[in-house]
Amino acid sequence: MVPSSKLSWIGLAIAAALLALLPLVASPYHIELGSTALIAAMLALSLQLLVGCTGLVSLGHGAFYGLAAYVVYLISPPDTGLSIAITLPAAVAVSGIAALLIGSLSLRAKGFFFLMVTLAFGQMVFFIFHDTKIGGGTDGAYLTRPILGLFGFDLTLTRRQRPMALYYVNLIQLIAMYLGLAWLLRTLFGQVLTGIRVNEHRMQALGFNTYRYKLAAFVIAGMLAGVAGHAWALHRAFVNPELVGWHRSAEALLMILMGGLGSLAGPIVGAIAYTGLGEVAQLLTERKLLVEGAVILAVVLLLPKGIMGFKLPEFMKLGKPDSSNAPAEIEEAHSRPGQGQAVSHD
């Protein structure tokens, strides 16, 4: 789940550096597309804490994302934007409280039923914004963009500077989120989440109140989805009920599946691939969804562990072959004689 060797950290640093260099060569349109991908990556990464790390598949995650964007809309005065030092904590707090409420109820269900209950709660939030005039109803509403500023130093941006500045803000948030989760998973808390994913029943027998740990993970994931939703409000300055709907949750799940369930880098890779795929499909054809669907199906079928699980065929590998799975087998053959002989007096 977490990079374990120096080499993988170096790989991540190079990937981050490449992402940081992108705006220097890309057009403003593509920089904005990059921001869209980074925000999708934040949403998918926040969901990975539940899906890949704890084994909780939620279809209500979009609710916390969209809710954060609506909070920015609701608290921003129509004429001047608030500082993100106000909007970000407010959005994250509301998402966190919503996650606490929804999580404390839906975590009483397990497996498939948990999925359905999160879906139901997510749709309830969706219909609040869809069927009332709170956030402009079905049409959505424009919001006053929050101002990038900390401790009174406000950054005033021209329309031309904004895409690049926001891109870096999003990149920094994504990197911070990644490092935060990598740290979290190495703590005792992270060990408990791993244990719950692998074998929740055993964790209870060992003495863990797994409900509390799952709820904590659910709230943290909801708050991180709030960070992503806030970033979206900053990025597009527009909210509509689509942000809250279950489509958003399903897309985030698809990104995780494409990138890989087994790592924190997976959802980021998946989000970038998914966003890129959507763009390419739109350029090539009018049947965007059809192309997307076919490619996603191919990825999931051919790469069951996602893009991050892709391995070069043996003959294409450089250097010495991977020997990590060789030595364990030998010892086992020796210590196995008793297996299979049932010791029973029935």
């Binding site: 703590t187 074998n199 055993r202 209870q204 060992l206 003495g207 109140n209 196995r336 297996q339």
Partner: protein, 253 residues
């Protein structure tokens, strides 16, 4: 502790559990004292595993009471009972296969022994927890394998790990559900030695099919048939009991 027989560590009073119309456990009253290895035997379907699940809090009883050191724990959840001093192993190996052997046991130590404030500390720096996990591994003879993924251990190794995980929380009472299942005779001998030494510090309730093994290690025994207690007492009494011989032991005794 002049007379430790006065308060049993673990006791059940008329314990019962129905699954629909079937009463899997009915009117079971047993007690387990400090330093004692108590074996529960009986044919398949006698309700032995249900009894362990009741004692561990994995399922709730339909009738009766469970007391741990005189405290009623009948309603307590599985995780609460682990904190109150019950450790258990499972009949079907139930470990964290992708995690290392040490991580498996460390989780067991952490569950009841971690400081409240350490939950957001790095797991690999928790010397105290790791040392206690190593001690449990050494006890069952698995210390050589601490960095192996648990799933790569031999079957016997995984059974040993089960016991180490039950030990990890340093429980008052250990419930072992067929620790020998699928083990060879040599490994069985090792486990017998281990259980005898463990029973001096923890009370053990053991379920096992291997009669030679049971009669070799048990201090007291309960025989269950059809969810009910048929007889209980010292191994010699059980061996001599005519009803037990008819119902269960067959030609063995």
């Amino acid at each position: 502790m002049t007379d430790h027989r006065s308060t049993p560590l673990l006791a059940t009073h008329a314990l019962g559990r129905n699954f629909g119309g079937l009463s899997a456990v009915r009117d079971v009253s047993i007690s387990l004292h400090a330093g004692e290895l108590h074996a529960v035997i009986g044919p398949n379907g006698a309700g032995k595993s249900t009894l362990v699940n009741l004692l561990a809090g994995a399922i709730t009883p339909s009738a009766g009471r469970i007391e741990l050191v005189g405290v009623d724990v009948t309603k307590a959840s599985a995780h609460a009972r682990a904190h109150q001093g019950i450790g258990r192993s499972f009949q079907r190996t139930n470990i964290f296969k992708p995690l290392t052997v040490l991580e498996n046991v460390r989780l067991g130590v952490q569950a009841v022994g971690a400081d409240k404030g350490s939950i957001f500390r790095r797991a690999s720096n928790q010397r105290n927890l790791i040392e206690r996990a190593r001690a449990a591994l050494k006890r069952v003879g698995l210390d050589w394998a601490e960095h192996r993924a648990a799933g790569t251990l031999s079957h016997g190794g995984q059974r040993q790990l089960e016991i180490a995980m039950a030990l990890a929380s340093n429980p008052k009472v250990i419930l072992l559900d067929e620790p020998l299942a699928g083990m060879g005779p040599e490994e069985g001998e090792r486990i017998a030695q281990l259980l005898k030494s463990l029973a001096r510090e923890h009370a053990i309730l053991l379920i096992e099919h291997d009669m030679d093994f049971v009669f070799a290690v048990a201090d007291t025994m309960t025989v269950m048939v059809d969810g009910q207690v048929l007889a209980s007492g010292q191994p010699a009494e059980i061996r001599a009991n005519a009803a037990v011989q008819n119902a269960y032991l067959g030609g063995h005794a």
